[in-house]
């Protein structure tokens, strides 16, 4: 069975600084997708970034980028130039290409301070 582990329950960063959130996963599959979702206090789940396992190039979306290490089964999220609006819970998620089901990590609560 696939598992997703986020070892940082809470993180904090000062505005304009850079922060990295960790995520590791376990799977025997070769074809899968990885996601980072953001959940602000409004509780709406918002996609931050996604990575296809077959792509070697790390995904980037504006201030957000990932460090995808397939052999190590690691998928960390880097947030550059942190903004107050980045304050939220961040969930790492794994999706098996065969079943389409999302498996979530336990989340990291990120607080951005002015």
């Amino acid at each position: 069975a696939q598992t997703v582990t986020q070892s940082q329950p809470e993180m904090s960063v000062q505005e304009a600084e850079t922060v990295t959130l960790s995520c590791t996963y376990d799977t025997s599959e070769n074809n899968y997708y990885l996601f980072w979702y953001k959940q602000p206090p409004s509780r709406q789940m918002i996609l931050v970034i996604r990575q296809e396992a077959y792509k070697q190039q790390n995904a980037t979306e504006n201030r957000f980028s990932v460090n995808f290490q397939k052999a190590a089964k690691s998928f960390s999220l880097k947030i550059s130039d942190s903004q107050l609006g980045d304050t939220a819970m961040y969930f790492c998620a794994f999706r098996d290409a065969n079943t389409d089901k999302l498996i979530f990590g336990t989340g990291t609560r990120l607080q951005v301070f002015p």
Partner: protein, 116 residues
């Protein structure tokens, strides 16, 4: 992208009663799912809502407790039956279109359920 709405957004219910949550997607989607998020916890998949057939439940979830309907490609309901305080959670609907390239799974705004 898909826009997903849920009704109700929140409810407070009495023990032993049932609540049906509706999920509406603004476009046809192949896959719809229901998740539960207990207070301060992550999301756990309850079931995959299959169009025109019985839902596929994850371990620990059963049809008698969480009956699900999906009459068409844009709509699904989740019923929480015979509720107890342990059912107090946020229930989220999600959807995506299955195609090569790994389409994103979108989420509704959630339904916050409190059982007294």
């Amino acid at each position: 992208s898909a826009v997903i709405s849920q009704k109700p957004s929140r409810d407070i219910c009495q023990r032993g009663t049932s609540l049906t949550i509706q999920c509406q997607v603004d476009s046809q989607v192949t896959m719809m799912f229901w998740y539960r998020q207990q207070p301060g916890q992550s999301l756990t998949l309850i079931a995959t809502a299959n169009q025109g057939s019985e839902a596929t439940y994850e371990s620990g979830f059963v049809i008698d407790k969480f009956p699900i309907s999906r009459p068409n490609l844009t709509f699904s309901t989740l019923t929480v039956s015979n509720m107890s305080p342990e059912d107090s959670s946020i229930y989220l609907c999600s959807a995506h279109n299955r195609k090569a390239g790994g389409d994103t799974q979108y989420f509704g705004p959630g339904t916050r359920l409190t059982v007294l």
